[in-house]
């Protein structure tokens, strides 16, 4: 079911009620996670809440940056936060920022700026702005551009990871083992003369496939396993494992951030496409979460991957290929996971933590024993600084 259809299914006006044997592939208000502006809002809110509670997760360093929750680049909504943005911009005027429309996908409407004049029309004081442009369709987010991405073979890439959520409360999510990297066809350069060249900066296949050098055999894609092999071989095992652990961490944190506001309708499950960029200090950044990750394929390998993805997703969401019953406990047996691995299971985490099938870092568990295991987690996390 597409997001448009979901909107109408769950809209108050239609009054459509899903029956017990109907399961749908989106949560009613998934946009809390999948719209760029709402995702950032929720994460900011979540961080503030943790800070208020005095949770060790919200600890900050001497510069006021969150130690464990700083995984989204500095972002502002436009035009709402325009003045805040300007203040930040002036602090480092040589930095580059990326403008993204809130509601679009596939790299549409994205551009880079390094001068305030380039975004004049979002200024609240500007004569051209009006309240019309504050409708959700025209809203933009502006984020600090990561101009030091990790390069391989001189090229920029990002990670596309698939995460299945079967329930938000308690949170139960699965990570697909076969994610991939999307490479740009052109060599990366932070040079200001190439800010307009989308082939250098945007990794979306929808954009890259129009480039001259696009190759239809491999599609500019690498498996995550290749990435792992390369990083382990050239950087070492510890830093590579830490990187992947951090990636899992930020995915779980982003889900926890929206869990309280998600409509945890028991008829729903959802498979998200997470976009992550790794910078040259091997720090991962969450760029965005997609509710309808592309299920079309650009290469033969891709087709196999997407086919298996859909197959495995449905096996978890709807057990045994039987008529679904939304009242089931949403705990599929291990055998049906296919290429998915349990990323986080809140129920298990709150129960006996000893034999969980989570990533080995105890720091990822946040249950009643949150305090104690956090300490061992923290020691691991802080060793990078």
């Amino acid at each position: 079911m597409s997001v448009q259809t979901i909107r109408s299914v769950f809209s108050v006006e239609t009054g459509y009620r899903l029956s017990d044997d109907q399961i749908v592939n989106h949560f009613p208000n998934h946009y809390e996670l999948t719209r760029k502006d709402l995702m950032v809002k929720n994460i900011k809110r979540y961080r503030k809440e943790l800070e208020k509670e005095g949770s060790p997760l919200a600890e900050k360093d001497e510069n006021g940056k969150y130690l464990y929750l700083d995984f989204v680049p500095v972002t502002y909504m436009l035009p709402a936060d325009y003045n805040l943005f300007v203040e930040e911009f002036r602090k480092s005027p040589s930095s580059t920022w990326i403008m993204k429309p809130c509601g679009k996908a596939q790299g549409k409407g994205i551009f880079l700026i390094n001068k305030l004049s380039q975004i004049k029309k979002w200024s609240r004081d500007s004569k051209t702005s009006s309240f019309v442009s504050q409708s959700t369709k025209e809203a933009y987010v502006i984020s600090l551009y990561i101009n030091n991405p990790l390069l391989i073979g001189g090229r920029k890439f990002d990670l596309r990871l698939y995460v299945l959520v079967s329930t938000y409360r308690p949170l139960r999510c699965y990570m697909y083992k076969l994610g991939f990297c999307r490479f740009c066809t052109v060599k990366y350069t932070p040079s200001t003369s190439e800010l307009d060249n989308m082939f250098v900066h945007l990794t979306n296949v929808a954009i890259q496939k129009h480039g001259e050098d696009y190759n239809h055999i491999h599609g500019g894609k690498w498996t995550v396993n290749n990435l792992r092999l390369y990083l382990e071989s050239t950087r070492g095992k510890e830093v590579t494992s830490k990187l992947f652990d951090e990636i899992h961490w930020i995915i779980v944190q982003s889900l926890k951030a929206v869990a309280p506001v998600m409509n945890n309708d028991k008829h729903c499950f959802e498979c998200y496409g997470y976009d992550i960029i790794i910078d040259d200090r091997l720090k991962p950044w969450l760029i965005e979460v997609n509710a309808s990750p592309s299920l079309t394929s650009s290469t033969a390998n891709d087709r196999i991957l997407k086919y298996n993805l859909i197959n495995d997703t449905l096996n978890i969401a709807v057990p045994n290929g039987e008529i679904p019953d939304c009242k089931w406990n949403k705990s599929p047996p291990k055998e049906v996971l296919g290429n998915y691995e349990i990323l986080y299971d809140e129920e298990l985490a709150q129960g006996d933590g000893a034999d969980r099938e989570l990533r080995s870092r105890p720091g990822q568990s946040l249950g009643p024993r949150g305090g104690r295991s956090r300490d061992s987690g923290r020691t691991v996390l802080t060793t990078w600084k």
């Binding site: 490479f183 060599k187 690498w222 396993n225 290749n226 092999l229 071989s233 390998n301």
Partner: protein
Amino acid sequence: MALTVLRSTGQGSWEKRILKSLNSMCTELSIPLARKRPVGEQKELLNKWNEMGTDEPDLSLFRPVYAPKDFLEVLINLRNPNYENGDSLSFRTHLGLIQVPLKVKDIPELKEFFVELGLTTGQLGIDDSTQVPPELFENEHVRIGQKVLAEQDSAAAQQYVRQGSPTALRAELWALILNISSQPEDILYYEQLKTNVIQHDLLVDSLIYKDVKLTASNDDYYFVFEDYLYQVLLCFSRDTSVLGHFAYSSASPPKSYIRGKLGLEEYAVFYPPNGVIPFHGFSMYVAPLCFLYHEPSKLYQIFREMYVRFFFRLHSISSHPSGIVSLCLLFETLLQTYLPQLFYHLREIGAQPLRISFKWMVRAFSGYLATDQLLLLWDRILGYNTLEILAGKILAAAVFAFRAVNLMEVTSLAAAEAVLADLSTLKVMPLLQIFLFATVT
């Protein structure tokens, strides 16, 4: 005896053929074998040094000088004129394509030689899989590896990698075994080669471009490293130090004569300067190394050393046990001896096994196995200092054994090729172990 015969007939005529092919390409396309670049072009190339892949010269008229299958035809037609004395009875019953009676190891001898690959010894590629707890083997193995590196013991490193190298230690271990240490003079040497590339254009360069574009650029694993391949291979062809390996190779470097001075030795130069004419797939020798080294001069040194120790044997004719002829013979013998039914069946349907496995062996399996498996295989080449395992003539035989059931059912060469087309899911070490140590002899 066999060595001289092969050297003078087989390799000699093969070399003549390659050179002829190169020269005719040169005349047909009216391109000189070498020319000095005008200053403007030099500047441009220097600017583009890190992204030569985006440069798209018109390569449509270039063809690879030869491909592995051409080479195979030559090997098949090798004969040893001394053979009539027929001292090896068993050879008379040899039904494979190779008709030269070289001595190759049999399974008992192989078992002894490759004893560390036995079933009772821990291996990376088997004992580090997720079902096996790391305490059993992996952790200890890693600890030993770190110790070997700390002590910078090259011989110990070579012994160590026979059981496979942990991914994080591999780059350093290989460098230790190959005695590569990136001194300032090495970096300077590489820079000098780079300058040569900038200043002169060689016909061979176009062959290299074409090869990379045809092979590595289309490979799921290696396309990312395309630009590194140019940086290594273009320098490689100008590296005269590579000529040194011809002293122990049965091959000799092709010579070219300055225009108008044909036959006059004082006007002869080696062409290309390193004496190695690349063939279709040559760039795949370098590609896997890009997963280990991202600094061009180090990558270069490692590749060069691997080439002069191992890879050159895969495309020249000699009687050396690691030479391609011996490897082919070893493969055919193993297959015929231990899987006779399969062997006969494939022969019957016109699918001589060597025709299928030859290309794997010539490329040292690069581009056919998944990279992590390939690296495990190359660990063993370095560890045992021989290609017998890789060129896996043994591995090739093991692959056939593994897919035997399917192969018994095919009825054409094309179908056999299809069964063996995709090796990307194979796990190298279990295959080798089963074939060497678990086959009933």
